[in-house]
């Protein structure tokens, strides 16, 4: 059981987690990751950000990532919410919340999903900084995280 949403409106991560943990009394652990917009990047003040995506493919890509996590760990539920459009500093960008009977599965699956989302889901950030607009560059460390998951194999 999972829910995936791409949202152009601000969302409340706490509300999303409440919805997830209320879904099933077999849930014993919820781990959530909330990615927030910062007001500083690469040494420049960032006033706002635009998140572009590929409608249709985005939802499919997120669903595939969540399905991989369900195949790999014993999970009771998952919610992934990702903002698109205009964002302001302190806005939540993404929520990945994972529920399982025990904590280890939820911790691992949450990290797995955000690591894959970072390199496989078609979103692009454009920042408006004090020095003008610029597209954010992908980080090599994100690719490295994926390599580690694929080398780790099924380790639960």
């Amino acid at each position: 059981m999972y829910t995936i949403r791409v949202d152009s409106e601000p969302f409340d991560p706490n509300h999303e987690v409440d919805l997830l943990r209320g879904e099933d009394p077999a849930i014993g652990a919820v781990v959530s990751f909330i990615g927030l917009m910062r007001d500083l990047n690469e040494g420049d003040r960032v006033d706002n950000m635009f998140l572009e995506h590929y409608p249709g493919m985005t939802e499919n890509a997120l669903e595939q990532i969540v399905k991989l996590a369900f195949e790999r760990w014993q999970l009771q539920g998952c919610r992934v919410v990702h903002r698109v459009g205009e964002l302001k500093p302190t806005d939540p960008i993404v929520l990945v919340a994972v529920a399982s009977a025990h904590r280890k599965e939820a911790f691992q699956a949450c990290e797995f999903i955000i690591d894959y989302l970072k390199t496989q889901a078609p979103f692009w950030k454009k920042e408006a900084t004090e020095n003008g607009e610029r597209w954010v560059d992908a980080r090599d460390s994100d690719d490295e995280a994926i390599r580690q998951w694929s080398q780790a194999g099924s380790d639960h």
């Binding site: 970072k118 078609p122 597209w135 560059d137 992908a138």
Partner: protein, 83 residues
């Protein structure tokens, strides 16, 4: 025909959101990439072999060897930066 779609920095720098292309001699994505590079200018610069390019065919992640057929939607974009 196939439909080409461009996103983010590629869409901005090439000034193209989407376009229809003849698919007769396109066996795989690499064939499309080489045809687009022949346009020169920003096309050959952004799609050069040493550039990091991501691609999707019919909204699934793909690679240069992914086969193409008429009616396919091919997207080219820079490495993703969500999350």
């Amino acid at each position: 025909m196939v439909q080409l779609r461009l996103f983010a920095r590629f869409r901005e720098e090439l000034g193209v959101d989407s376009e229809q292309l003849e698919s007769d001699d396109l066996r795989c994505v690499e064939d499309l990439l080489s045809r687009l590079r022949q346009r020169g200018g920003a096309w050959s610069r952004l799609l050069a072999e040493d550039q990091r390019i991501m691609m999707a065919v019919n909204q699934e992640m793909a690679n240069p060897q992914t086969p193409l057929q008429a009616g396919d939607e091919i997207a080219l974009f820079p490495p993703v930066t969500g999350g």
